[in-house]
């Protein structure tokens, strides 16, 4: 069977649009709420990235940090995250779920045990922010054996020769970081520049899906439509924080935001 991640790209291409990927932190603002958010946005999102909160995140900006600290403060554990994914998958089995986090959380859990648990809960892909290539080769192979995509990250600083090597080792989806920034930074390069870099990557192997993330909001998403997929994370985390501050329901608000994002790329 085709990995649901690849299936999602096929479907989006048929509809002549990029796939919409959302990122929310597991357990934000509570275990129950984060599950409800996933359920409510799954209508409009093609792929759900679920963040494993970590308290020394070296690549996340303030919005995702706030979400992560909130979740950790509420007592979220790695096992709770698997439970959330499992419960979500009972609701919508074919919607692809990607876990995204920092390596220490996987290392402490044990790579093999972690992957077994991913398989059992229905996780389809993994992004490990601080496990770059070639350090990730061994782990990526283990993922492949379990039919879980290990998603390689590519950045504007990645040299051409390195890009080629990474793409060669990559699974069917890779993630291009739009600019030099932590997550949620203001888009400091033009969308045209981003797409130019994106095309360079795509040329290496057009068959592999590449999504663009970092700095994508309601305002910028339509200008990047030509990509295979677009990730929105910080803008969603910010919406959760805003909702909580104004004592509004984050589930409804986030759901509306994702709907708006989807409409922009149709």
């Amino acid at each position: 069977m085709l990995n649901p991640i690849s299936a999602a790209f096929v479907k989006a291409k048929q509809e002549n649009r990029p796939a919409l990927l959302t990122y929310t932190v597991a357990g934000d603002s509570s275990k129950k709420q984060s599950l409800n958010i996933l359920k409510s946005i799954s209508k409009n999102a093609d792929i759900l990235e679920v963040g494993i909160p970590h308290n020394t995140p070296v690549a996340d900006g303030s919005q995702i940090q706030t979400s992560a600290y909130r979740s950790i403060k509420n007592g979220i554990k790695v096992n709770d995250i698997f439970k959330i994914v499992k419960d979500f998958k009972k609701f919508d089995y074919n919607k692809p779920v990607i876990l995204m986090g920092y390596y220490n959380m996987i290392f402490q859990y044990g790579e093999n045990k972690f992957l077994n648990k991913c398989k059992l809960s229905g996780v389809n892909g993994l992004i490990v922010v601080d496990l770059p290539w070639p350090e990730n080769r061994g782990f990526a192979k283990k993922c492949k054996k379990k039919s879980i995509y290990f998603i390689q990250l590519l950045s504007p600083t990645t040299t051409k020769i390195r890009l080629k090597k990474i793409i060669k080792d990559s699974h069917p989806m890779s993630y291009f970081i739009s600019m030099l920034s932590t997550t949620g930074g203001k888009l400091k390069v033009s969308p045209r520049e981003i797409i130019k870099n994106y095309i360079k990557i795509k040329k290496i192997n057009p068959k592999k899906n590449v999504v663009i993330g970092f700095g994508i909001t309601e305002k910028t998403i339509d200008k990047l439509k030509s990509a295979d997929g677009l990730v929105v994370g910080s803008a969603i985390c910010k919406e959760i924080s805003r909702s909580l501050k104004h004592r509004q329901n984050p589930v409804t608000n986030v759901s509306n935001l994702v709907k708006k994002l989807k409409n922009k790329i149709l």
């Binding site: 996340d60 900006g61 220490n104 770059p132 350090e135 030099l180």
Partner: protein
């Protein structure tokens, strides 16, 4: 796991930057791979370049003021009544602590790579103060990340940084101490690595930063070796080198040149921060058997919970208040080359009292931890044992804490 002889420890890592196959490495976001690789190439080239070494030595001599003194603490020796207690007064260095060596080298590297801005982290404020001094000296713009809690408790150094023209960025996330300052600094570098250089304030972080820092602070042991031979005619038969260990930059530098000696002749004792006697929190991952984890780009023993979240530390000394420890020290521990133990806040304060009572020396709270253990162990040693404590920082920055904990007398007495 084995320590090799004849090869500098900083160069004993494998291709991926792991010491002993498991400590260190480069657990960094993809964006930092290229800047780190560039820095590695530059550093590997320059550390063999005679002209660069000459330039470094020139600044070390004329600006930092090396060598720092090596003195016998006669009164303290008499009081303790055991081993001869000596001190390497590294706090003589320009700025008042060992952090100046690493800061100077990083600024020299930044200049060579054409960067205009340098960013750094700081706990006690020394790394930040020294980086601000060096940045000013070499005409670089400087940005220092410091935990909001540390900004309050280390005001004298904050003032010094600002005076040197550095921008001090308070970090409010997490525990608001060094660990968060390092994270924030790395985040800044992720976003600005095209124009900025980063200086990691200790022998921690991705492998190249561990190596640069260890290479820089090794100046301390190079001097000490000469001074010991001057004083005793040869390296003493029973030599014990005590040093506090937070990230581990001063201790590594204090020991490096003695690495190949048998540990029966040259013993290394690292003293971690045990925190308040009554608290379960500490900053002593080696002493209390913390598990290996990843922190700030490197695998190391680190205080963490079973899930892998880094746990909060507690120590009176901001400079030692760090949940992790240099991969170099993990390596030295597991190869059994160095021995590690901890001193509590109270023991460090007491040691400060004793040292200042008997000697004209004013160690900051960090080396006071080392003095605590050195004093208590020296009692048991024979008179021909040479104990050397690295007094790697001056207590000027701690006067607020010392006044509060010990009373005005101890701040004014020196």
């Amino acid at each position: 796991m084995k320590l090799k002889k004849g090869i500098p420890v900083i160069d004993q890592g494998n291709k991926l930057g792991f010491w002993g196959g498991k400590f260190g490495g480069n657990f960094v976001p993809e964006t930092l791979k290229k800047p780190i690789e560039d820095l590695e190439i530059l550093f590997n080239k320059l550390k063999k370049d005679k002209q660069f070494i000459q330039e470094r030595d020139k600044y070390f001599k004329n600006w930092i003021g090396v060598p720092t003194r090596f003195i016998k603490l006669e009164n303290l020796t008499k009081h303790v009544g055991g081993a001869q207690i000596w001190s390497k007064v590294v706090s003589d260095a320009n700025g008042g602590a060992h952090k100046i060596y690493n800061a100077t080298v990083h600024c020299l590297l930044a200049k060579r790579s054409g960067k205009k801005v340098i960013c750094g982290d700081t706990g006690a404020g020394y790394a930040g103060k020294m980086l601000s001094m060096a940045a000013k000296k070499f005409g670089l713009k400087c940005k220092i990340f410091m935990g909001a809690k540390d900004i309050v408790r280390q005001q004298p150094n904050v003032k010094a940084m600002k005076k040197n023209g550095a921008e001090v960025v308070p970090v409010y996330s997490g525990s608001q101490t060094l660990v968060d300052a390092v994270s924030e600094c790395m985040r800044f570098w992720v976003a600005n690595c095209d124009t900025s250089a980063m200086c990691v304030g200790s022998t921690v972080g991705p492998a190249v930063f561990v190596r640069i820092c260890g290479w820089s602070t090794s100046q301390i042991s190079r001097e000490l070796k000469v001074q010991l031979i001057d004083e005793f005619g040869s390296i003493p038969k029973k030599l014990k080198l005590y040093n506090c260990v937070g990230g581990g930059s001063s201790s590594f530098g204090f020991w490096n040149e003695f690495m190949d000696y048998d540990k029966k002749q040259c013993e290394f004792i690292g003293v971690e921060a045990g925190g308040p006697a009554k608290s379960k929190k500490h900053a002593a991952p080696l002493t209390y058997g913390s598990k290996i984890g990843i922190l700030h780009g490197a695998a190391q023993y680190v205080n963490q919970n079973s899930d892998g979240q880094i746990v909060e530390t507690e120590s009176i000394s901001a400079g030692l208040d760090y949940p992790g420890i240099s991969p170099l020290h993990c390596f030295l521990k597991d190869t059994k080359r160095a021995r590690y133990t901890a001193a509590s806040d109270e023991q460090a304060l007491n040691a400060y009292k004793i040292v200042t009572r008997f000697e004209k020396l004013r160690p900051s709270l960090e080396p006071s931890h080392a003095f605590a253990v050195a004093i208590s162990e020296s009692k048991k040693f024979s008179k021909d044992t040479i104990v050397v404590v690295n007094s790697c920082g001056d207590a000027y920055k701690d006067r607020g804490i010392l006044e509060k904990r010990l009373g005005k007398k101890y701040v004014k007495s020196n």
